[in-house]
Amino acid sequence: MADQTLPIPSPFEVPQTGTAAFLEWLHDWFVTVDHKKLGILYVVYSLFFLLVGGFEAMCIRIQLIIPHNTFVTPEVYDELFTMHGTTMVFLVGMPILFGVANYLVPLMIGARDMAYPRLNAFSFWLTAFGGLLLYFSIIGGFGLYGMGSAPDIGWFAYAPLTAKAFTPGHNTDYWALALIVSGFGTLGTAINIIATTISMRCKGMTLLRMPLFVWLMLIVSVLTLVTITPLTAAQVMLLIDRYLGGHFFDIRAGGSALIWIHFFWIFGHPEVYVLVLPAFGIASEIIPVFSRKPIFGYSAMVAATVAIMFISLGVWAHHMFTVGMTSVGNAFFALSTMIISVPTGIKVFNWLATIWGGRIRFATPMLFALAFLVQFVIAGLTGIMLSAAPWDWQLHNSYFVIAHFHYVLVGAIVFNIFAAIYYWYPKVTGRMLSETLGKWHFWLFFIGFHLTFDPMHVVGILGMPRSIYTYEPNRGWNTLNMVISIGAFIQGIAVLILVWNMIRSHRSGEMAGNDPWDAWTLEWATSSPPPSYNFATDPVVRSRRPLWDLKHPNDPDWKYEP
């Protein structure tokens, strides 16, 4: 029997000064293989593109604020919504969630780094250059008008619009190549996370003692393996068509546009779960800590997530009810889509049961997590509505669908990303984010979110189609569109408050200490920010809440574990 001490000791690192120190610092960020620095790079990169994608959303909303507006030309409008969608999914959603996982998974399982640190760096730079390649299209992709143009094919890029005959120039090629490059980056990270969680756990960290965030990232990574790769394969086919004269999606030569739609959504629907499951993981870490109770139904949560992973692979064609499938096909995909709400419902009830009877602290991370719960339930309900094929025939490609998936992507995922930023920022930087600015951020974003996306359901039911450049004034959509746009601007202001909060608190925030939230997982056992080796001595774990055991030696969790 040996002894371990809390906090796990970490010697001081002597800071450098002088001009050479800056170059040293810069060089260090470029060549780093440290999972924490790469995690920070991922998050900063994604936040930059969040601002870019947000700017594009603002332009879209300015264009739609009044009927017959001409703020941008129709061509630019097509580019705006294509780039907004592609940016938010591939350059914001996935990198930020994999970045948070990069930072947290080794810390949470008591490891010193990922299983493959150099692969980790390689994956990040692939992802980063994929993003740059996409935006390089604006200067490099000589388009239809002899000048650079961004992709304008919609984020799902349906054939045959992507054929050389209909989209000349190189912007579509930039789009396909950028997604292939960043796709390989994502694949590398997914492999790395799986190998890390399976093979790098500290002593005593059995699978069923892992924090739920780690569990969900493991499942997400497995799902990513079979989700990103079909997209890569389809993009390769598209490039074969465009460059080598192939006929995969060439209708004149017997090819099929339909098969692209299938391939895209075989990727596209599980992708939603690749994005939302890490968000569930974040909520599953934050809600117990701020309710002062252990998570309710841990093993049910794990089982439900595994169920979601498998079912999510069999629902893709609910994006295709209007394509004209057989009745059997429609019924199958409607039912499989409805079934997925069962494990999801299990999760919602587990979070509610965790909060129930808890001593709730309404700090900013918890506010975002609670708003997520409410909004996610609404998003799930509109999802069930859309899963009924006849309802979908009515509302397909309308703003109702836009409202539904923004409720998931913003209401669930972005809210949890913000919760994660407020929750783990003290660990990453050693300083707290300002709670006052945090509350401003939350309430403005919450109000802006509902002003934007609640009326979108209504204009959708009133018949406003997605991706339209402008609309007639006599449709009854004017007031609603005005409200939607105003809500979008409020959200924009809220995000700028977050950026300001992060910059300001980095310099002058209150010192956080090792464990500002009195939490229970291993990342809070080391100093803030953690040393490059994470833990001076390898931690040993005997229950799901190792820090609870350390703080309460008289009443440790492991006494109650089977």
Partner: protein, 196 residues
């Protein structure tokens, strides 16, 4: 801050799976999905070409197939040899594995040459050409990547840098080679048996 002592139970045995095997299996799952998409496209487009040659022109590449599949056995012998530290046997069978892989690639090259110059089938001729060259080419690419990795090991073996302690890494690499062989079974069945 106060420090607390925590009891550590040093006698508990704690073994985790090899990270190499886990990562390689993950890669194989991902690669399988890529192949699945190409195989589905191939099957979906069977008989849909509107003009040009049909799969009837394909000859069943039995010799190539025998070579590639037996390379799985030779690499297994090599794995077994390095496990027991018999480096001469390992080198011989590793080189034999590579030779079989190279013969397979040579067979593909001759087959493609015949198709292009005699049957006038290229990737842009018709749907059959597009799907055939992309699926068989995707597999050939994997054989080439596998041969590159095998040759790195061979070079280091001939330099005397590989020994029994590398057995686990060798096995991880061999896993990839087994996958390349197993995929050929699927591609062979789909292209040369079902598709013809």
């Amino acid at each position: 801050m106060t420090t607390t002592s925590v009891p550590i139970f040093a006698d508990e045995s704690w073994r985790l799976p090899s990270r190499g095997t886990v990562a390689m299996l993950s890669l194989i799952i991902g690669e399988s999905a890529i192949f699945t998409i190409f195989v589905v496209a191939y099957i979906y487009y069977i008989g849909r070409s509107v003009s040009g040659p049909t799969p009837k022109i394909l000859d069943i590449p039995i010799f190539m197939t025998v070579c590639l599949l037996s390379s799985s056995f030779t690499i297994m012998v090599a794995e077994h040899a390095i496990d027991h530290g018999r480096m001469a046997l390992f080198t011989a069978f590793w080189a034999l594995t590579m030779l079989l892989g190279i013969i397979f690639l040579g067979g593909t090259a001759l087959e493609w040459r015949h198709l292009i110059y005699i049957d006038h089938l290229t990737i842009r001729t018709n749907l059959f050409g597009t799907t055939f060259y992309s699926l068989v080419g995707l597999h050939a690419t994997h054989v080439i990547v596998g041969l590159m990795m095998l040759s790195i090991v061979l070079v280091f073996t001939l330099l005397g840098r590989i020994n029994q302690s590398h057995a686990e890494r060798i096995k991880v690499l061999a896993l990839y080679w087994h996958f390349v062989d197993a995929v050929w079974v699927v591609v062979f069945t789909v292209v040369y048996i079902v598709g013809r």
